[in-house]
Amino acid sequence: MRGNSILRIVGGRVYDPANGVDGVVRDLCICDGKIVADVEAGRTIDATGMVVFPGGVDVHTHVAGAALNFARAMIPEDHRRNLAFVRDRIRHGGIGGSTPTTYITGYLYAGQGYTTVNEAAVPILTARHTHEELRDTPIIDKSTCVLMANNEIVLDLLEAGEYERAKEVVGWSIWAAKAYGVKAVNPGGVTAWKWGKDVKGFREPVPGYSKVTPADIVSSLAKIVDELRLPHAVHLHCNNLGAPGNVATTLETMKALEGSRAHLAHLQYHAYGGDDWTNFRSESVRIAEEFNRNPNLTTDAGAVLFGNTVTITADGPWQHLLHKLTGRKWGNIDVENETGCGVVPYVYKEKNLVNAVQWAVGLELLLLIDDPWRIYLTTDHPNGAAFWRYPEIIRLLMDLDFRREQIRKLAPAALNRIFLPELNRCYTLYEIAIITSAGPARALGLANKGNLGVGADADVAVFNNDKDAAKMFSYPRYVIKGGEIVIEEGEIRNTVEGKGLLVRPHYDPSVEDFIRPLFEKHYTMSFDNYPVELERVEHAEVRPCN
C-alpha cells in the first residue's frame, strides 16, 4: 500500500504530459508514497540515460470476475500453450496466457510499468466475486465499472419515462456493487439476447419493450452519470460490435450523446464498413473525423494483434454469432435481470481479410484521432490480444519501418480495404506517455494518477531507452508503486497490495424501498445479501464525486 520508502530517481529523462514535461532530465523525489519536491535521505536510483514515465493506467480491461473466470476454465489449452510462472521467495506461481491467474495478472501489469487498471464489466449480482478476485490481484490499483445498460429495473423505468428514479437506481447500484463507474454494453441488446435476439435498430424499441430504444438507454445513462457527477464518463460498448457496416451505429451513437461525456470503449470493433464479411472494410477515417469533432468523447483503441486469444464480453448475441462463424467452443452465462456474457476462443490471422482489417483499424484510429489525450492504448484485453502485448502496439505506433514491414505480411486483398499504408504519423515518447498513462488517468478522473507532479501517487516506471520500443516497454528497469520499488532490473522485488477504487454517488436512500419489492419478485437471492459490504473491498479508497 502506502510505502515509507524515500527515493530519489536521478538523471532520467522525464515524460510527464499532465504537467507538460516532455523529456526533461530532472530528479524525481518520493516520500510516503507520494511524489514530493525534495528528499534528504533515502535511496538514490541512477536513471541516467533512461526514460521516466508515470505508471501506466489501463482504462479498459477484463481481469477479474465471473465471465473471465468462466473463460479460464474453458481454455486449458491456452494455459498449456503459454508461459507459466514458477513460485519463488516473493511470488506466487500461476498461469500467464490470455486469461492470467489473479496473482500473475498483477505481476504482468506491473512488469510492464502499469500500476492502475479499470475492470470494465461487473454485474451487481456477482460483484462480490469480482472484488474477491481483485483482492488476489497484487500491486496494481483497481477500479470497476458496473453493468447498467441491460439492467431490467433501469430499462423498465426508462420505458415508463421515470428518468429521475432510474438515476436513483443507478446511484444505488454503483454503491451496491462497490463500483467506480457505469458500463453500458450493447444497450438493450443483451436483454434481447435473453430471448435469443439482438436489438435491431439504434432508434427502434428494444425487443420486449414498446418505447425504449438503444438510443434512449445511451443518452439517459450518459446524462445520469453526468448528473451523479461520477469521475468517469459512461463507459460505452456501442451496439453492433464487430459487425460489417457498424460505422453507422457508432456515428449515430456519438450523435445521440448530444454533448454528454462518454467513453467509447474499444472503438476498433465499431469502425467497420461493408454490408457483409465479403466486403468488410475499414471506416476509421469517418469515425475519427466525427470523433475529432466531439470534444465530449474519449475512447480506447481496442486494438487487435495477430495470434491466439479468447474473446469475452457481456455482448451475448455477438458471441453466439462468433461461435457460429468460427465453430469454436462457446460459453454463455446470462445473469438474471442484469446482463449476460459470452466466451469464444479466437485466433486472429494475418491472412484472414477480416482480421487484417481489424488489425489495421485499431492502429488507424490511434493515428487518425488527432488528440492523444482522448484515445488510449488498449486491446480490450483479452479480446484483441492479451494486455501483456501492449509493447508490440507501441512499437507499431512509433516505428514506421516496422509498421510497413508488418503491413507487407497482410493478405494483399486487405490493402484496398484499409487506410494504414497511407498513414505516416509516428508517436513520440511524449504521446506514448499520454495514451498509456496521463490520458486514461484523466479520463478516469484520477487526478493523483498518470502524472509526476508534487502530491501525485508515486507510481513510476523507468525504462531503458531502447530503439526497439517493444523491448523497451516490455522490460522496465524499475517500477515503483505507491512509493515502493516493485520491479528492479526486470525482476519482481516486492508484491505490495493495490487499492480498490470506488465512488459513493449521492442518491436518495429511500430508493431501496422501490427496488426491494421488485428484487424480491424477480431475483433469486435475498435483497439484504445483494450489496457488497465495503469491507469486502481490499484497501478500499472511496473517491469523491464532484
Binding site: A64, A66, N69, F70, R72, A73, M74, P76, H79, R80, R81, N82, L83, A84, F85, V86, R87, D88, R89, G93, G94, I95, G96, G97, T99, T101, T102, Y103, L125, T126, R128, H129, E132, E133, D136, E152, K194, W195, G196, H320, H323, K324, K329, W330, G331, N332, I333, D334, V335, E336, N337, V343, V344, K521, H522, Y523, T524, M525, N529, E533
Partner: protein
C-alpha cells in the same frame, strides 16, 4: 465441442417455459429447486408460474420427482448418450437408426415430440444430475448434453446447468480457477499449476499410491471412496479437518474439529449457478474455523526453511 451455455437461476425463474431434469431427483436431493428457482415460482415472463411451464423428467427409474413432471421419459440405464445423440440428429433433421432408438427404451414418436418441444420452447433449460454425469460415459454424457443445449440456440433460447450437490463445491471450482487457472485436480509440485484429470485427480492419485500425505477437509472419503483409495489414506499420514469425527478422521493421524460452515463459521459460499452468497452464522462454535486452522498451519510452515521447486526460472513453458 466444449464450452457451456448457461445462466443464473433467476433467468430460469423469469423466463423458462420448458424445464427438463435429466438424471436427477431434485424432489429428494435439491428440494427447493422446484419451489424457489425453476418450476413453481411466478416469473416476470411466466406470470402463472407452474402453469406456464412444461416439466419433463428423463431418468432410468421413476423417482418422486416424476410426480412433478408433465412428461416422464423412462430410459434404459446407460443409454443417455445415445438419447442425446439421437435428439441432436432429430433436431438437425438427420436420419435416425431405429435400432438405436430401440436401445434407448423410448419410441421415435416420444423422441420427436421432445425435440419438437425443445425447438418450440421460448426459453428451455436442461438441469442434469449425477444420473447423467456419474454413470457410464460420465463427462462424455455431460459434454453431449451441453452441446445439445448450445445447438438448440440455432432455433430458440436454450441453456443447461449441472445440479451441483455438496454445498460449496462450486466455490472450490471458482477459487481454483482464479488462483491456478484450472477448476480441480491441480498439481502444484513444480511451483506452477498443472492440470490433468485422471492423473492428478484424487481417486487416481490414491489408488496409484502417488501421494505421501493427505489433508482432507469438507469431505469424508473414508466413507465414500473405493477401498483401495481408503487403504492408501490409512497408509500415509492423513490430516482431517471436520466438524465431526468422521470415518476419515478414524484413519487419520491428525483430526482437528472445526466450526460448521454457515452455522458457526462465517464467510462465503457459491450457489450452483456461481452466484456468491454471504454466510450468516447463527451459533458461536467452541471450535476454530477451517480458515483459521489452515492459516495457522501455513504460519507454522512459513517459519520453516523455504521449500522451493527444484529449479526456479521466473517463467517456464507450461508443458
Amino acid at each position: 465441442m466444449g464450452g457451456k451455455v448457461t445462466c443464473t437461476l433467476g433467468e430460469v425463474k423469469n423466463r423458462a417455459d420448458l424445464v427438463i431434469y435429466w438424471g436427477g431427483n431434485p424432489a429428494e436431493c435439491h428440494p427447493r429447486h422446484f419451489t424457489k428457482y425453476a418450476l413453481m415460482p411466478k416469473g416476470k415472463f411466466v406470470p402463472n408460474g407452474r402453469k406456464d411451464r412444461t416439466m419433463i423428467l428423463v431418468d432410468i427409474r421413476e423417482t418422486p420427482s416424476a410426480k412433478a413432471a408433465d412428461i416422464f421419459l423412462q430410459i434404459k440405464p446407460t443409454k443417455d448418450f445415445e438419447m442425446i445423440t439421437v435428439l441432436r440428429a432429430i433436431i438437425k433433421e438427420q436420419p435416425v437408426d431405429p435400432a438405436i432408438v430401440a436401445e434407448i427404451g423410448l419410441s421415435l414418436e416420444q423422441l420427436r415430440d421432445l425435440a419438437d418441444r425443445m425447438k418450440k420452447a421460448k426459453f428451455g433449460v436442461m438441469f442434469f444430475g449425477m444420473g447423467l454425469s456419474m454413470t457410464r460415459g460420465k463427462h462424455m454424457n455431460s459434454a453431449a448434453l451441453l452441446t445439445l443445449a448450445a445447438e438448440l440456440n440455432a432455433f430458440t433460447k436454450f441453456v443447461a446447468m449441472p445440479m451441483r450437490g455438496h454445498g460449496n463445491v462450486t466455490g472450490g471450482d471458482v477459487i481454483m480457477r482464479w488462483m491456478t487457472g484450472y477448476p480441480f485436480g491441480v498439481n502444484l509440485a513444480r511451483g506452477y499449476p498443472r492440470f490433468n484429470p485422471g492423473e492428478f485427480s484424487t481417486i487416481d492419485m490414491l489408488i496409484r499410491g502417488d501421494c505421501d500425505a493427505a489433508l482432507i477437509l469438507g469431505a469424508d472419503p473414508g466413507a465414500t471412496m473405493p477401498q483401495p483409495a481408503i487403504d492408501h489414506l490409512a497408509r500415509v499420514p492423513t490430516i482431517t479437518l471436520d466438524p465431526k469425527v468422521t470415518h476419515t478422521s478414524r484413519i487419520s493421524r491428525v483430526h482437528i474439529t472445526t466450526a460448521v460452515t454457515g452455522i458457526s463459521a462465517p464467510g462465503t459460499a457459491y450457489r450452483m449457478d456461481e452466484i456468491p452468497l454471504p454466510l450468516r452464522p447463527a451459533l458461536k462454535s467452541p471450535y476454530p474455523t477451517d480458515e483459521e486452522v489452515l492459516r495457522r498451519i501455513r504460519q507454522k510452515i512459513a517459519c520453516k526453511p523455504l521449500q522451493l521447486p527444484p529449479t526456479v526460472p521466473m517463467m517456464t513453458d507450461a508443458e
